[in-house]
């Protein structure tokens, strides 16, 4: 049998396979170059970028929990200008699409970062993280209010000609409502899920473990929640989806595709195995070979209920 066709096209971005790296878990790519072939994966997503460099939260910022981890990094990043000057030149030499993940502290900042990225060679698309509090509006989180999400997405859409992916927060009552709001506002694809808000307590010290008190849960522990949300959104919205949450191996990745994802992102798995993204792509291909499946695309949404 011929090698199976692993390629997918996501909102107009052609990828050699459906495996992307998740924002904040793969640095700016270069950090992992010693451990895997950056040209073996489908796409890379950068750390969340903001208008100005961001310091992030005090420490401890991370703690392990059963089957997962909590993080409260606080979106520390070099800022959009330093990204363009210092990080992008390296990425341009890698033949793999780069998706810039961005966020803002205000509505205006979202628009501004998006327009700085527009027209930049070497950026194949943008992924908007809407799980941030709006500083100006008293901290209401864009990603949990359909009206606010719609505003952000339409503003970004007006400021970019690049494929626009919106990353959904799972910390909502009904993810479908949020998905529809983003679709109506002009998103070209949706990625889900971001981390689930959680907390860890140090019993002896009677204090929260994280300096920020709460943090975002990621890793295998969140996979069932993520699968459920991808499946729900896939039924309700006609946009390509990117499945994220606890993907550790090729089988996990393919489950997300059955649930309706066109592509997947590997996050926490890259911490325990820096070559995880490459390995997962290989494991997916292996599964296809073993089951005589010619194209990975035939599995998208193929779940039988």
């Amino acid at each position: 049998m011929q090698r199976p066709d692993m390629s997918v096209v996501l909102a107009g971005i052609p990828m050699r396979n459906p495996v992307m790296t998740a924002s904040g878990t793969f640095g700016y790519g270069a950090e992992f170059a010693d451990y895997l072939d950056l040209e073996s994966i489908g796409a890379m997503v950068t750390k969340g970028l903001s208008l100005k460099p961001k310091a992030g939260n005090p420490t401890p910022r991370i703690v392990e929990t059963p089957g997962g981890m909590l993080n409260a990094i606080g979106l520390q990043n070099v800022g959009i200008d330093a990204f363009i000057e210092q990080k992008l030149p390296y990425l341009k030499n890698v033949n793999t699409p780069v998706i810039a993940n961005l966020y803002g502290n205000t509505l205006e900042e979202y628009g501004e970062v998006a327009s700085r990225l527009d027209g930049l060679a070497g950026v194949a698309g943008i992924e908007v993280n809407i799980s941030c509090p709006n500083v100006k509006q008293g901290g209401i989180v864009f990603g949990t209010d359909p009206g606010a999400a719609q505003e952000v997405v339409s503003l970004v859409k007006r400021n970019t000609s690049k494929p626009l992916i919106v990353k959904l927060s799972p910390n909502v009552t009904d993810v479908v409502v949020m998905a529809k709001a983003c679709a109506d506002a002009g998103a070209d694809a949706l990625s889900l899920i971001n981390t689930l808000t959680g907390m860890a307590i140090d019993l002896e010290r009677r204090r929260p473990v994280l300096a920020n008190v709460t943090g975002g849960l990621s890793g295998p522990a969140i996979k069932p929640v993520a699968l459920r949300m991808v499946w729900q959104v896939a039924k309700a919205v006609r946009l390509p989806l990117i499945g994220i949450g606890g993907i550790m191996n090729g089988r996990d990745a393919l489950e997300f595709m059955l649930a309706g994802a066109t592509a997947i992102q590997v996050g926490t798995a890259s911490f325990l195995d820096p070559s995880a993204a490459q390995r997962i792509a290989q494991e997916m291909e292996q599964y296809l070979v073993e089951h005589g499946i010619e194209s990975v695309r035939s599995l998208i949404g193929a779940l039988e209920v």
Binding site: F26, T59, P60, I62, E64, G219, L272, P274
Partner: protein, 269 residues
């Protein structure tokens, strides 16, 4: 690099402290003291993350079976404090562990001729042993100031002495060496033509850093932090740089910019 390593031995050297030897890639032969490994204690999802350990020793041996050339090994010295280290302590000869090696920036040994002073406590002695070995190979004069709560925390002193290192010991309860903090013993011996290398609990490093700055003695410290990735990607392990303020943040990654820092690089409380 990522390496599937085989445990060669794993022995309890003091109550709750273990010394583990495992096979290592050829590249590790040129590791710098102070660098560390990230070790996955099993391939389950609990514990999920790798655990960081300083290099206690690196060397080579010829395996017993025939037809095999010299093989590089590395050793770690660890204390059982939780889930991961408990599982680690149950490993035997022949078990496999996944390593990322060598990580981070190690100690800069400084010019020949000056006195090298090592200060450590508990498992902080681990990277100092490898450092002492390399310094002795260069023919340097090395002194060790080791501290701990009690005698069980003062590890491998005979190993240091065997290298020809002059050792000074202090314990909180006086069960070994002087009673009190090792930093008090150190202060009596400070002079300007020495270089300090310290690794241990943060309060100890804090005291050593301040003392050395006060006396104008160059001092490097090896720091600990919670780590997820070990390669500078997650930004979980940061510490405040010396000039850090909320307005002009300056965070350093312990895994990538450290774990060894010049004491002047960091902010001390």
């Amino acid at each position: 690099m990522q390496f599937k390593s085989m445990v060669i031995s794993n022995v309890e050297v003091s109550p709750n402290y273990f010394r583990m030897r495992m096979t290592a890639p050829q590249e590790l032969a040129s590791a710098v003291p102070g660098q560390f490994v990230m070790l996955k204690v099993n391939d389950a999802i609990d514990p999920l993350l790798r655990r960081p350990f300083g290099l206690f020793d690196v060397g080579s041996f010829v395996p017993e079976y025939a037809g095999c050339g010299a093989q590089v090994y590395c050793e770690i010295l660890y204390k059982v404090v939780g889930k991961g280290t408990k599982l680690l302590s149950a490993l035997h000869h022949g078990d496999l562990v996944d390593l990322l090696v060598p990580l981070g920036k190690g100690f800069q040994m400084g010019p020949a001729g000056e006195e090298k002073v090592l200060v450590g406590g508990g498992v902080g002695l681990a990277p100092l042993y490898y450092l002492a070995k390399e310094l002795k190979e260069r023919g340097e004069k090395v002194r060790l100031f080791a501290g701990g709560r009690n005698r069980d925390d003062v590890l491998c002193i005979t190993e240091f002495e065997r290298l020809g290192v002059e050792t000074y010991v202090a314990t909180d309860d006086g069960t070994l060496g002087e009673r009190g903090f090792v930093t008090q013993v150190l202060e009596r011996h400070l002079s300007s033509d020495m270089r300090i290398f310290a690794c241990g609990p943060t309060p100890m490093l804090n005291a050593v850093a301040k003392m050395s700055q006060k006396h104008g003695v160059p001092c490097q410290v090896s720091m600990e932090a919670y780590m997820a990735c070990g390669v500078g990607a997650c930004l979980g392990c940061v510490m405040k740089g010396a000039n850090h303020t909320d307005e002009t943040p300056d965070y350093r990654c312990v895994c990538k910019d450290g774990p060894v820092f010049d004491s002047f690089e960091l902010q001390w409380s």
